[in-house]
Amino acid sequence: MATVSLQSKTFDKFPDVVGRQDDTNYLNHDHSITSWLFTLDHKRIGLLYLVTITLMFLLGGALAGAIRLELLTPKGDFLTADTYNKAFTAHGIIMLFFFLIPSIPAVLGNFLVPLMIGAKDVAFPRLNLLSFYLYFAGSVIALTALLLGGVDTGWTFYTPFSSTYSNSYVIVMAVGLFVVGFSSILTGLNFIITVHRMRCPGLTWFRLPLFIWSIYATSVVQLLGTPVIAVTLGLLGVERTLGVGIFDPRLGGDPILFQHLFWFYSHPAVYIMILPSLGVTSEVIATFSRKNVFGYHIIAFSSIAIAVFGFIVWAHHMFTTGISPYAAMVFSLLTFSVAIPSGIKVFSWLATMYGGSISFDTPMIYAFGFLGLFTIGGLTGLFLSTLGTDIHLHDTYFIVAHFHYIMVGGAIMGYMAGIHYWWPKITGKMYSEFWGKLSAGITFIGFNFTFFPQFILGYLGMPRRYYEYPDEFQVLNVFSTAGASILAIGYSMPLFYMTYSFFFGEKANSNPYGGSTLEWTNTTSPPSPHNFEQTPVVTEEPYHYHGKEAAVVSH
């Protein structure tokens, strides 16, 4: 293990940034609490997010643990039905709205977007800080709802259950999500303008790193989708408080309309979670294969395509609700349109690796994991876009397994790959390669152990959101719970070795992995408060490794 990391570090293609006189960086130039809490520096805001979402992830993970424990046996013996319902609701809401959606965009995006495009900061630094505090306020409100007694509607808030029948704190939670939604919108807005208007000289659109393309596509979804969920939750709140019937059929409303409005956001929201991971994977694979990305333009456009197609497929969540069969067919066909750009990406990454010079550092191991899990997650989506099979699989554990493969297997693996990849840049420290690879391996194995049995469970017919289940489903549930305990170990390990490395890690140089993008080549690790000593000028395409032999040899 150690040899590999050593090798990586000796590969120092680009010299350290010239002109650095002192050791001042964004982390140590001011140590006061206020300098952190009121910082306008995108890098520090990224770290504020990192700490907050990690806490939310731990909370969501603990809830997942409780859920899996309950499902160990067919009878409800660990939790009551009500607690179980509140636990899976809280798990869903926390993981989706407070962890996955802000994970890569808000942490890595904030840290990297200005660095990767050679800018001093995002376009609107104050708005950026406001986004963080909106996120924070939204989290506080949501946690308040949980402390008051929780919400038992499921994260989908289906009416009329949520508007009329549920006796839980739906409105408090809706307010929390409303607020956090605005955080998401403002973050997306900030990135879009930043990418459009803050690129350094020479950095044309097709010289942008693919991570930027994916963040850009994500931001478009955030900007277009989030307001719709905000207004939908608003209507839900109006219905619940005033007792009027926007969605309640007994008062003339239509509960299916809620689902249409809800999924108009919530399906594209899946792409908010997965697109940035696709971007991270492109970066990681290019760097560790030391090769340009195959089909750069196609990968860039496929991110945009996924973002746009994401808005025309939402009703595939509603095939069994009694929407018109014709609409179901149209949405089924449209849904397949998302499969194509996703497939193109996977094959292009493989072609990138082909003929490369692949090194197996931790981020690459995570990226391999991502590749496997995203492939399975994406392909199982085919079962659900195909009408004939979706009817049987809808609302069963097959769905649960599928979206966990995408959102946990895909998005979190990508997030972990990104965190490990840019950790030396963020902190200026190296983490232990041994522990990194071990945790990547354990996570991958634990993940498959947990969620693969759920595909079979779903096919056997076990409905989701059951806290008791018929005996015949127990074997696979035991497997799943066992896997979850492995997964928990895999996910907790980075907490320790990363924290350790932050304080005691070996110092990283400016480009320990031989990355080719601006954040590696043109600034120190960690970067100075204003990112670059001099504004970079870009003269060539990204991932331009070839023709640099001389530089390496001379080293």
Partner: protein
């Protein structure tokens, strides 16, 4: 826990093998592609592992035939899945015309099932083997979902409207009936059994302890709710004759109180009858004054189904005689505004 375990679900309806074939096809595609991606990842990782620190690989920007290939081949596969899926889907959703009809009402947290012959059951559904069965579904409160995995069918049960699903059982036995749309605290206990019986057993079961036919219950309601006061079926009628209207196209004159084009017709199915009882003004039969009061809040979903079953069975000249002792519907109606809905 191992004794009940099985890898594959029961295959007990006519559509189940079709769904499973399609499933198998997608599984094969999935496994092949996953294996391909996995093998290439591992293979490339080994073959192209970093051997020398100074080696910089040659660039490869793209390969048009390759890219066209991995775009068009998936498009083709997707189109096959889509069309196959649509074919299976239409078999799942379109019931045969001769299907026998059952009714199910979902509520927190049970299924109430009615047979036309009068049998009623809770969280159990007895059906004969080899006959297509159409279940008309509705909910009294929130959205539920009527799901029988062994038959590969599933339909959300939405309050305020009828939905339906059909199946034809092929194997005798007992199967799971689930509510698969989250519906509140006891969602996971809203499960029942589907008991598929040989025709003879089914007939025997039907004859045991049926209170009275569903239509007969409906007939009682027809008098009790004073439908008969106006729908007399004779010359004194103040409302259309309901004999033999079921599944006929009948002319209507107003929609939501607004006059519409002459000659417009509506198909008198379950949903239309339900709507006409709850919202009499929604589609008014041509030639009649819109004087009918709404029965919203006065009949339960189950009773509605019984009235509908009765109207279905109502043939020429069968409308019962009018009885005067019960109050007119209008008086019942006056109580409505005071009734709290929530």
């Amino acid at each position: 826990m191992f004794e009940e375990f099985k890898w594959l679900p029961d295959q007990a309806s006519t559509v189940a093998p079709e769904v499973d074939m399609l499933m198998l096809f997608i599984v094969v595609v999935t496994v092949v592609i996953t294996a391909l991606v996995g093998a290439l990842t591992l293979g490339f990782a080994i073959a192209f592992r970093r051997k020398s620190e100074s080696y910089i690989p040659a660039p490869w920007f793209g390969c048009i035939p390759l890219e066209i290939g991995w775009t068009l081949i998936p498009v083709g596969i997707c189109l096959v899945m889509f069309s196959w899926g649509v074919k299976v889907y239409s078999n799942i959703v379109i019931p045969p015309a001769d299907a026998m009809e059952l009714y199910a009402v979902g509520r927190q947290w049970m299924w109430k099932i009615q047979h036309p012959e009068g049998q009623r059951e809770i969280n159990a559904l007895h059906v004969p083997i080899g006959r297509p069965v159409k279940v008309t579904l509705t909910s009294e409160d929130v959205i539920h979902c009527f799901s029988i995995p062994a038959f590969r069918v599933k339909q959300d049960v939405v309050p305020g409207r009828y939905s339906s699903l059909w199946f034809q059982a092929t194997k005798a036995g007992t199967y799971q009936l689930f509510c698969s749309e989250y519906c509140g605290t006891e969602h996971s206990r809203m499960i029942g059994k589907v008991i598929v019986m040989e025709e003879a057993d089914y007939q025997k079961w039907l004859s045991e302890g049926a209170e009275s036919g569903q239509a007969l219950q409906g007939r009682k309601l027809y008098t009790k709710l004073q439908c008969v006061t106006c729908h007399t079926g004779n010359a004194e009628a103040k409302a259309p004759n309901l004999e033999g209207i079921y599944r006929k196209h009948i002319p209507i004159s107003h929609i939501d109180g607004v006059k519409i084009k002459d000659g417009t017709k509506v198909f008198a199915d379950d949903s239309y009858i339900r709507e006409s009882i709850l919202y009499p003004n929604a589609k008014v039969a041509a030639g009649w004054e819109s004087i009918m009061p709404t029965y919203q809040g006065l009949v339960t979903e189950e009773e509605l189904l019984q009235v509908i079953a009765y109207i279905k069975s109502l043939n020429q000249g069968q409308t019962p005689p009018r009885t005067e002792e019960t109050p007119t519907p209008a008086t019942i109606q006056n109580k409505v505004p005071n009734k709290e809905v929530n």
